[in-house]
Amino acid sequence: METVKLLKSGEFLVAETSPDDVFIPEEFNDEQRMIAQTCQDFLEAEVYPNMADLEKGDRELMKRILKKSGELGMMGISIPEEFGGFGQSFVSQMLVAETTGAGYSFSVAYMAHCGIGTLPIMYYGNKDQRERYVTKLATGELIGSYCLTEPGAGSDANSGKTNAKLSEDGKYYILNGQKMWITNAGFADTQVVFAKIDNDRVMSAFIVERNFTGVVVGNDEHKMGIRGSSTAQIYYNDVKVPVENLLGKRGEGFRIALSILHMGRLKLGANVVGAAKKAVTDSVKYANERKQFGVLISSFGAIKHKLASQVIRLFASESAVYRVSRDIDGMMETLKADCGDTGRASIEAISHYAVEAAILKVFGSEMLDFVADEAVQIHGGMGYSAEMDVERGYRDSRINRIFEGTNEINRLLVVDTAMKRAMKGEFDLFGKAEALFNDLDKITGGESSGESYFIEKSRYIQNFKKVIMICIHGAVKQFAKNLINEQEVLNNIADMMMETYVSESLLLRVTKLENLKEIKPVYRDILDVNVYDTAEIVRKSACDAIYSFASPETTTSLIKAIEALTTVRGVNVKDARRRIADKLIEDNRYGF
């Protein structure tokens, strides 16, 4: 496969990447480390000591803590300096998202403000709107929120009923409708509200202030988790929104909503890494204190298996997060040179990586669910006690699979978006897929004698990509335009794409670490177990898909090809996991 320096979204399916062209977390500079440390110090000084009161739903306390984070500058990371922020790179933005991700419900309130509450105005607002709102949102003087979902419009966001009509004097839009599941609703000063003007087919976006007459905020919802964050319904009863507060152009709302969701998904991918690191550290600390049968439970193989499995998924997920981030920074630089507007360049670059955004969101949220679940299990009975952080972490984790687009919607997006990009000619997916499909009988695993450790691992990854291409071609051939209705098959393909992208990111990270002489044997152990597991997931997903679409005549040759392409060298996963766990146990915290 061809090696590409700056991958387009979805292009990883047909191209290779050099380790030199990825960013890995071990390359953070001193300034980035200090930024992360400030976020960590803030959590320890202001958030954790107040967690119990926040969980009781103290809205004023959450607002005060949010404003304090604004005073420290934590809300201005993504905002250019001319609008009161610090104009940091996307890699740095993701590092902040990761670090604050360990802040339980504060993290949700903070990310809603900094992301979906602020960035639509930064990215799509005019100069006047940016000066009136963004400069104050960047410092915490104002707290923001984002109002898209309605009782009848969740995943199908454009079906909302909220309506806006221009007033007779042409000075206002009269807004009527209802929004729900609005994070920060209880105290947000500004709301980015989506509504259809007159009988438009698509939505427009408006900046609404909380104190506009006719805005009514409901009581906070009683939720399974993230109880410290305010989540409520907001009602709009003949609210007069000045025409100057139309965000972007009329009818641009749906595009804004989708673009901001891509950004939210990427940031969520980083957020869950931070939450998972906290859960792993809690797990190993407990395992290193709790004794049963006279010994620490961290010495048991079953517990080591759990600890190592947490680390492997987390480390792999983190590798993908920063790989995409660097690609987005690269794309931003290119686009900024073209259009000259930092805000627009940023959102165009973020929106471009829609495939990877959905991958980070789904893989990351399911990674955290796994890690949080095992954290409870390692704690045994104590894990079920509301006194423990892991109990809260378990409940808080669950929402990540639901918001920013459910994982079901996002799985479909992974495949659909990649195929659309390929159809637009951004990369050659279908030609390569057809060539593979037509030569099924010649497919082998491609093993060559004397191949090095990393060449072998890279071959496996490229083989997984071939499996994906074969399945895409077979499914398209069988279902044509009806493929969109074969969601189970699309899910199979999405799972393969996600696992392969993450495994490749991990391979690139470990290769680069060795190139940088940062050699720790456990990195190879992590890679070994991950690739071994990915091969199995790819094989199963491919077989599930093939048995769902292939004719009896082609099934045998397809399955034979899949078996050849997913066969990997056996690994002593027990010993590898034990070595990974031993390092975690020795460090007594997540320090990979």
Partner: protein, 249 residues
């Protein structure tokens, strides 16, 4: 008036210390270095005084004896808000050597108030502050838990057995500072972090001073033996164990 805060870099307090080969130094691989917690509190209080216009404190400088690899910790102090930084380009073999180097810096740069943490959380020597005052022939106060400026005069509070002692200190002087000097260490604000990159760290080569001591060996504490529970109904067993096994009675 100008304040100097002497800072040392120490392993993060959660670090599991490993000894390097030869057992006379620690293995620094993988250690995350931080500002010594007592020094960080000193810096916080110094910045509070500087930011109070009535105090007459015009600037806060930090000084550190260490190689270039310790600069991230100095940069952190600048991000927290120090105006200037000085690094003496040398390793720090013992407290005498460090104090001598810092005294030379103070002679060159002239400060009114010199703050030192009461100890460093790695070697816990509690020596440097007192030695600096001796080298410079200026007063010092130890165990300082409060410092303020009243009508241009420095007033320090010392914790003493059963109470407090309040002293007026003529400048220049050294205050050896303990916890209580500031509520919580100041968190570096994002603007401070961005500004820190524009601030210069002044580097001095070390003066010719010989350390007075040499670490021959470091030993880790012996592992604690397991806790044993004796049935409250059986005091005889307890006495027997204390007498014959622990040999403490």
């Amino acid at each position: 008036m100008k304040i100097l805060v002497c800072i040392s870099n120490v392993p993060d307090t959660t670090t599991k210390i490993k000894l390097a080969e030869g057992n006379s130094t620690i293995d620094t691989a993988g250690i995350q270095w931080v500002i010594n917690p007592w020094d960080e509190l000193s810096l916080t209080r110094a910045l509070e005084l500087r930011d109070d216009a009535a105090s007459g404190i015009k600037s806060v400088t930090v000084a550190h004896v260490g190689p270039a690899s310790s600069e991230p910790v100095i940069r952190k102090a600048l991000a927290i808000g120090a105006d200037e930084a000085i690094r003496v380009n040398a390793n720090s073999p013992d407290a005498y050597y460090v104090a001598a180097q810092l005294a030379e810096v103070i002679k060159k740069e002239q400060f009114d108030i010199i703050l030192c943490g009461i100890e460093s959380s790695d070697y816990n020597g509690s020596l440097v502050g007192g030695m600096i005052s001796e080298f410079l022939g200026i007063p010092s106060a130890s165990g300082v838990s409060g410092i303020k400026i009243e009508n241009g005069t420095a007033v320090v509070t010392r914790d003493i057995d059963g109470g407090k002692e309040i002293l007026e200190m003529p400048v220049p002087f050294v205050a050896v500072v303990q916890k209580g000097i500031a509520k919580e260490p100041k968190i570096a604000a994002m603007r401070g972090i961005m500004l820190a990159r524009t601030k210069q760290i002044k580097v001095y080569e070390p003066s010719a001073v010989e350390p007075l001591t040499n670490i021959s060996v470091l030993e880790k504490p012996a592992p604690r033996s397991a806790c044993r529970f004796i049935d409250a109904e059986n005091p005889g067993q307890l006495i027997d164990l204390l007498r014959n096994e622990a040999k403490v009675i």
